[in-house]
């Protein structure tokens, strides 16, 4: 490698790579590994099954074959109950999951963590209306999610504080351990419940409304074309320096926002309203990561019968897992990471893919994603399912793949020539 002639462009790219590695990556990685962020991510992962079950009714009532769709149409209301009681209660499940996760992070009792978080969240997002003895459950949908995250952090920090400062009722010797522990959390739990009650009911401060004011601009901003672009550029820059970018952008900073977007899209689709958001998790896996970051699937085809043994091997290794959006063999095998020649098409793929889909969606040519799909859903199937069966999305993805093939082709050939030369040497 050392003997190879290195052009100025390549040297500059190398310097640029080092710069990204040194200054752009560390803060994002630190943020992603920060313990509350990690706990929030784990808490979300645990409730994904309910998000998926909740979206089955959406798929059934939107089947592409009219005769099949008509079959389920009479049961739409009943099916939507399943959605409402699973997916649409996402805030409640998150409170349970987060409470346990935050408690675990501090080595405290997880059941108590869940109970106290749920109780405080209920006070904050849907206090009881005693006149009709009812709870307004919209607070337990995606609308209350950010409040619930904040409540869970306050609750966990306070429980930890109480534990460290020994803020408990001490039982005299001879009281069985089980009884002692049940009283152990009495004081911190009471203080927390009273605190949130006082803030919400006595002072009348509505955290959800307050957060709406703060977070709404953020939600709006990240759902614009440049918000999407910033996210895509960061994601791909990290991958270019060999760092798993998705875990610090899509699954890190953006995840709660992406979940909010798709949940609001789902809710809108049930009510027959226009879908408010474009940028969702399926958007990422349908338009930015077809077969993994950088939409590298076309490379498998280009290098399938390559004269370079390495690239041929990479293509053969990468195709089967690429179908499920995993492409480490290409990123590290070809490689794309730290490869100045592949940098240009790699970055272009994300920019072109995201902007192509963004503007097609805003122009109502394709449907925005409103059915949450797992990130490993294969290409062509993902755009179909996530858009509730919009064939235009599938056609658009095929068109995008052709465009990406053309973008990748010349660069892939230059790199191939390099590799063949190296292998001969």
């Amino acid at each position: 490698m050392a003997e190879r002639k290195v052009s100025r462009f390549e040297r500059n790219m190398e310097n640029f790579g080092t710069w990204v590695e040194k200054y752009v990556a560390p803060p994002l990685v630190k943020f992603g590994n920060q313990r509350h962020m990690a706990a929030i991510r784990t808490a979300y992962i645990r409730i994904i099954p309910f998000i998926i079950v909740g979206s089955v009714p959406l798929i059934l009532t939107n089947l592409p074959i009219p005769s099949l769709a008509n079959l389920f149409a009479p049961y739409a209301d009943k099916l939507n109950v399943l959605y409402s009681m699973t997916f649409n209660f996402i805030g409640l499940w998150l409170a349970i999951s987060l409470g346990a996760e935050m408690a675990k992070m501090y080595g405290l009792d997880q059941n108590i963590g869940s109970i106290v978080t749920v109780a405080c969240s209920l006070i904050v997002v849907s206090p009881i209306d005693l006149s009709g003895n009812t709870l307004d459950c919209t607070g337990l949908s995606v609308k209350g999610m950010f409040s619930i995250i904040i409540v869970s952090v306050i609750a966990a920090e306070f429980m930890k504080f109480a534990h460290d400062k020994n803020l408990t009722i001490r039982m005299p010797k001879g009281v069985p351990a089980n009884i002692a522990t049940s009283f152990g959390a009495l004081i911190p739990m009471s203080i927390l419940a009273t605190f949130f009650w006082a803030v919400r009911v006595i002072i009348g401060f509505d955290l959800t409304q307050f957060l709406n004011i703060i977070i709404s601009p953020l939600l709006v901003l990240q759902d614009t074309w440049f918000g999407v672009l910033v996210c895509v550029l960061l994601l791909q820059l990290l991958w270019f320096v060999g760092i798993h970018g998705g875990s610090f952008t899509v699954w890190g900073v953006c995840y709660p926002l992406l979940i909010t977007n798709i949940a609001e899209n789902t809710a809108a689709s049930i009510l027959g309203q226009p879908l408010p958001h474009v940028f969702t998790e399926p958007f990422v896996y349908t338009w930015i990561m077809i077969g993994g970051v950088g939409s590298t699937l076309p490379l498998c085809l280009i290098w399938w019968k390559s004269k370079s043994a390495t690239l041929r091997e990479v293509a053969h290794l990468a195709l089967p897992c690429g179908i499920f959006n995993i492409n480490e063999p290409i990123i590290f095998g070809a490689p794309i990471a730290f490869n100045p020649i592949m940098f240009v098409p790699f970055m272009l793929s994300g920019i072109v893919g995201s902007m192509f889909a963004y503007f097609l969606t805003r122009a109502s040519i394709i449907t925005a994603a409103y059915v949450p799909t797992p990130w490993t859903t294969p290409l062509l199937i993902n755009p179909y399912l996530s858009s509730g069966g919009d064939v235009h999305c599938v056609i658009a993805q095929v068109a995008l793949l052709v465009i990406l093939f053309i973008i990748y082709y010349p660069f892939a050939k230059i790199w191939e020539a390099r590799m063949i030369e190296e292998e001969k040497a």
């Binding site: 699954w251 290794l317 480490e328």
Partner: protein, 111 residues
Amino acid sequence: MEGKIKIMVLCASGMSSGLVVDSIIEHAPEYGVEVDVHCSPSLRYRELDYNGLDIILIAPQVKSSTGDIMEYIKGLGLDIPYMNIQMREYGLVKGGAILKQALEVLEQNKK
């Protein structure tokens, strides 16, 4: 080395490292060792069970988290050697080469 060598391969969500795990198992007989390998998601490193591990292999895409992860494990009172898997070997799923280096790390640690 006596008995099975217990190896944990860490990648972001425990997906791509599955390929590497299979390849290590396939190549283990060539090195005359018995291995017990599994992959785990580094994104959830605070929840994993590290007890009884002989070595931790870290995938290149999560290399930047190595410090955080190893510090956490040290905090648990465990002293486990680790190794960062080379980019190309990970990409080309060279389980044999990866295992060979891991054995070298283990050998160095014994001294």
